[in-house]
C-alpha cells in the first residue's frame, strides 16, 4: 500500500483538482465520483499543506465542500505557484544533487565522471553507516540532465569528458523586479523560482484585477512558447466541454491571447485538419509534444495579424481561405453633462472599433468583427445610456434587447419608459 506524500510526480492531476477547487469550489467529496475517495483525500491534503489559509470549507446538505479562496489584492505572491514547487524525487536524486554541486562548486572545478564517482564515495558518503551506492550510469544520467538544463557544461579533453558548473554570468535581478514580473509576465512561476533564491520578505507591490489561475497552465504555456520560437508543429491533447475524453490534435501554434479581464489564456493556432486558424483554451490543453519546424509559420502568423484587426476577442473566421464574413456592430450612447469619463472609457476600451461624436451628447461606436456575440458583455456595460443598436446580425441584436427587458423584470421594473 502506498503511503501519502505531499509531493507529486505528475502535475496534470493536481492541475485539474486545483482548478476545480479554485474556480468552482462547489463540489463535495461525493461529486468526485470518477476519482477514488483516497485520491480526493490525498489531493485535498496536499493543497492544504501547500496553500494553508487559502483553503476553506463550507458545509452543505450534500456534504463538505472544499474550495480555494484567494483575494489576490491581499497576496503579493501567487500562492498557486507552490504546486510547481512540489515535484517528488528519490533519495538518490536529492543526495546526488547537493553532492554534485558541492564538487563542482565553482566553474574552475572540472572533473571527469570517474573522478566525480570517486569523490562521491570517498569524500561524501564514507561517513554514513550504510552509504547509498550510485553506479556510473546513474551519475552520468544526472549530469546529462543538468547539462540539458544549462547548469553544467562539458568539455572534451582527449578521450575524457569533463564536467564543470556553468558560468553564472547573469546576475540575479533586484527582488522587486522579480516580484513584479513573476506576477504579471507569462510563465511568471519561473520568476518565482528565481525569487526563491533571494531574500524577498519586503515587497512594495499590490495587484488589482489579478488573475492567478493561469499559474496552473504555466507548463503548457512554456511548451507553446518554445514551439513558437522553433516555428514548429505540435501535437497536443485538447479537452472539450462537449467530450469526456481529450482528443489528440496537431496544430501550428501562432500566438497566445491573454485576457486581463478574466485571466483566460487562449492559443491561436492553425489546425491543418480543418484548414483554419482558431482559438484553443490553454487550460484545456495538455501533453504538448513539439514536432518538426514548419516553413508555413511566418505566413500563418501574418495571416493571424490581419485577422486580428477583425477580432474583438479570440473568435475567428471559419476557414483560412474562406472570405471574411464580417458582422457590423454599431451602438450609440448618450452622455450627460459631467460624464466625459464615458467618452474616455469608449476611447480606451474600443480595441478595433471606432468612436465618433455624432451630436453634442451622443457618441457612436462601430466595428466590423467576425463574431458579434463576443462584444455583447462589453456593450452591456454601457447599459443606462444606450440609445441605439444597429447590428448586422439581427438575431444577436434582438437577443440583446430581449435580455435587457428580462433584466427590467428581474429587478421589478416592468418595462416602458420611466418618468
Amino acid at each position: 500500500m502506498s503511503s501519502y506524500n505531499e509531493l507529486i510526480k505528475n502535475f496534470e492531476r493536481i492541475r485539474a483538482y486545483m482548478r476545480e477547487f479554485y474556480v468552482y469550489g462547489i463540489k463535495s467529496r461525493e461529486d468526485y465520483k470518477s476519482k477514488s475517495a483516497r485520491t480526493y483525500d490525498d489531493e485535498k491534503r496536499r493543497m492544504e499543506s501547500w496553500l494553508g489559509d487559502h483553503m476553506s470549507y463550507v458545509r452543505t446538505p450534500e456534504g463538505k465542500n472544499v474550495f480555494i479562496s484567494i483575494d489576490s489584492r491581499q497576496c503579493d505572491h501567487n500562492p498557486l505557484y507552490n504546486a510547481w514547487k512540489a515535484k517528488s524525487f528519490t533519495d538518490g536524486d536529492i543526495t546526488l544533487h547537493f553532492i554534485i554541486f558541492d564538487i563542482l562548486h565553482s566553474p574552475l572545478e572540472e572533473h571527469s565522471l570517474s573522478e566525480i564517482l570517486s569523490l562521491i564515495d570517498e569524500k561524501y558518503l564514507s561517513g554514513f553507516d550504510e552509504p547509498l551506492v550510485f553506479d556510473e550510469s546513474t551519475v552520468r544520467k544526472k549530469l546529462k540532465e543538468y547539462v540539458s538544463l544549462g547548469m553544467i557544461e562539458t568539455r572534451r579533453a582527449g578521450k575524457q569528458l569533463l564536467y564543470k558548473r556553468a558560468e553564472d554570468n547573469v546576475a540575479l535581478p533586484d527582488a522587486r523586479a522579480l516580484n513584479f514580473f513573476s506576477e504579471i509576465a507569462p510563465c511568471g512561476v519561473i520568476g518565482s523560482f528565481l525569487l526563491d533564491k533571494t531574500e524577498h520578505e519586503d515587497h512594495p507591490f499590490d495587484f488589482k484585477h489579478h488573475y492567478v489561475t493561469g499559474a496552473l497552465d504555466s507548463g503548457v504555456l512554456a511548451m507553446l512558447f518554445e514551439a513558437m520560437r522553433r516555428k514548429s508543429i505540435i501535437s497536443v491533447s485538447n479537452m472539450s466541454r462537449k467530450r469526456e475524453e481529450p482528443r489528440r490534435t496537431r496544430l501550428i501554434p501562432l500566438r497566445i491571447f491573454i485576457s486581463a479581464q478574466n485571466g483566460r489564456q487562449h492559443l491561436l493556432a492553425y489546425q491543418p485538419e480543418f484548414n483554419t486558424i482558431k482559438s484553443f483554451r490553454v487550460d484545456y490543453l495538455s501533453s504538448v509534444k513539439i514536432e518538426e519546424p514548419t516553413p508555413r509559420f511566418d505566413e500563418l502568423r501574418r495571416e493571424l495579424d490581419v485577422m486580428q484587426t477583425k477580432m474583438w476577442g479570440v473568435n475567428t473566421k471559419r476557414g483560412i481561405r474562406s472570405p471574411d464574413k464580417l458582422e457590423r456592430v454599431e451602438f450609440t450612447v448618450r452622455i450627460e453633462e459631467g460624464e466625459e469619463h464615458i467618452v474616455r472609457r469608449l476611447e480606451r476600451e474600443r480595441r478595433i472599433g471606432t468612436v465618433e461624436r455624432i451630436s453634442d451628447n451622443e457618441y457612436r461606436f462601430f466595428a466590423d468583427v467576425y463574431d458579434t456575440m463576443e462584444m455583447i458583455p462589453w456593450i452591456r456595460t454601457f447599459i443606462c445610456r444606450i440609445v441605439k443598436l444597429n447590428f448586422s446580425n439581427r438575431t444577436v441584436e434582438n437577443e440583446f434587447k430581449a435580455d435587457v427587458k428580462k433584466l427590467y423584470e428581474m429587478y421589478g421594473l416592468t418595462g416602458g419608459e420611466e418618468e
Partner: protein, 303 residues
C-alpha cells in the same frame, strides 16, 4: 520543462539547512525554523527525518554535513530565457536594472508571441523618462520610508500639492496603470502615478502620517443561471476575489463575493455585463445601484 525538483521547496529548504550546517552546527529549533520558512505546512514531517535517518545522505549522524560549501545552484537555461523575455518588456526600465550576460540567450517569448487583447489603451507611459524617474523615487521612498512632496494634476486639471509617505504601489493589468497608496499629513491618499507631475524627497518639518485604514471588504451575493457556460465565465471573471459558491439545484448557483466598496461602480458594470444570467440578491443598496442603471436605460428609448 519547468516541473522539476530542482525548483522545489524541498530542495530550497535543504539548501538552506546545508548552508546553516556549513557554517557550524544548527540546533533542532533552527532547523525546524528553516523548514517552516521555506517549505510547506506538513514538510517538517518529511525533511528533517529524511536527513536525520540518512535517507538523504547529506547530514552525518553527529549533525554535521559532508557538504563543504554553502549550496548554490547556477541559473538554468529556462530561467535565463525567461529573464531575457522580461528584459524585452518596456516596464523593465522602471527598475533601472541591467540584465547583462543574456546577449546570446534566446528569449522564452517576445511581444510577438502573446497579446493581452483586452487591456485598456491608455496605460501608463513607461517610455517617458520623467515617469521612470518618478517611479524610482517612489520605489526608493517605499523602501526607506522617505516622505515625498508630490505635485499632481487634479480632477479638473488643477495642480494639487501633497506631502505623503508612500506605502505600496498597486498595479492593474486591466488598466495597465500604477497607483500609489500613501499615508499623508493627516490623510491618506491613493494617486495614479501618471497624474503625478513632480515628485521629490521632502525634508521639511516632520509630520505624523495619517493612516489609511482599508475599510473591511463588503459582501455581495449573486445568483447565477448556468446557461451558455455562465457559471464558469462568472467564476473565472470574479476569481480574484475572496468568494464562496453553492449550488441551489436546477442549474442555479449562489455566489458570495467580498470586494472593496470603493469599487462598487466597477462591480455594477461587471455584473451587468453578464446580462440576465446573473442577478444580485443582496445587499439592497447594491440592487438599488443596478436598478438605477436599468431605470436610466428604460429612458433611453431603445426599441
Amino acid at each position: 520543462m519547468i516541473f522539476n525538483e530542482i525548483y522545489s521547496a524541498y530542495y530550497n529548504t535543504v539548501a538552506s539547512i546545508l548552508g546553516a550546517l556549513t557554517s557550524g552546527k544548527a540546533s533542532e529549533r533552527e532547523l525546524k525554523d528553516i523548514v517552516e520558512k521555506y517549505a510547506f505546512g506538513e514538510s517538517a514531517l518529511t525533511i528533517l527525518p529524511a536527513l536525520k535517518e540518512g535517507r538523504w545522505q547529506l547530514m552525518l549522524p553527529d549533525g554535521s554535513t559532508p557538504i563543504e560549501h554553502r549550496p548554490t545552484m547556477p541559473m538554468t537555461l529556462i530561467e535565463k530565457r525567461w529573464l531575457k523575455a522580461i528584459s524585452l518588456d518596456k516596464r523593465i526600465k522602471l527598475f533601472g536594472i541591467d540584465l547583462e550576460g543574456l546577449e546570446d540567450i534566446e528569449p522564452l517569448f517576445t511581444s510577438e508571441d502573446y497579446r493581452i487583447y483586452d487591456k485598456y489603451s491608455d496605460g501608463d507611459p513607461y517610455d517617458d523618462e520623467e515617469y521612470i524617474k518618478r517611479f524610482r523615487t517612489i520605489l526608493h521612498a517605499i523602501r526607506t520610508g522617505q516622505a515625498l512632496k508630490i505635485e499632481m494634476t487634479g480632477r479638473s486639471g488643477e495642480t494639487v500639492f501633497r506631502r505623503c509617505i508612500p506605502t505600496r504601489l498597486e498595479y492593474s493589468e486591466k488598466d495597465d496603470k500604477f497607483r500609489m497608496h500613501t499615508s499623508g499629513k493627516r490623510y491618506a491618499y491613493t494617486m495614479n502615478l501618471a497624474k503625478i507631475t513632480k515628485c521629490k524627497p521632502y525634508f521639511g518639518e516632520s509630520f505624523v502620517p495619517g493612516i489609511k485604514t482599508m475599510p473591511p471588504p463588503v459582501s455581495l451575493t449573486l445568483e447565477i443561471t448556468d446557461e451558455r457556460n455562465a457559471l464558469e465565465r462568472v467564476m473565472l471573471h470574479f476569481a480574484h476575489f475572496e468568494k464562496k459558491a453553492e449550488s441551489l439545484g436546477k442549474r442555479k448557483y449562489r455566489l458570495h463575493i467580498k470586494y472593496n466598496e470603493e469599487d462598487a461602480t466597477e462591480m455594477v458594470i461587471r455584473i451587468l455585463s453578464f446580462g440576465s444570467l446573473v442577478r444580485v440578491v443582496s445587499p439592497d443598496s447594491f440592487i438599488d445601484l443596478i436598478r438605477e442603471k436599468l431605470k436610466k436605460q428604460q429612458n433611453c428609448g431603445l426599441k
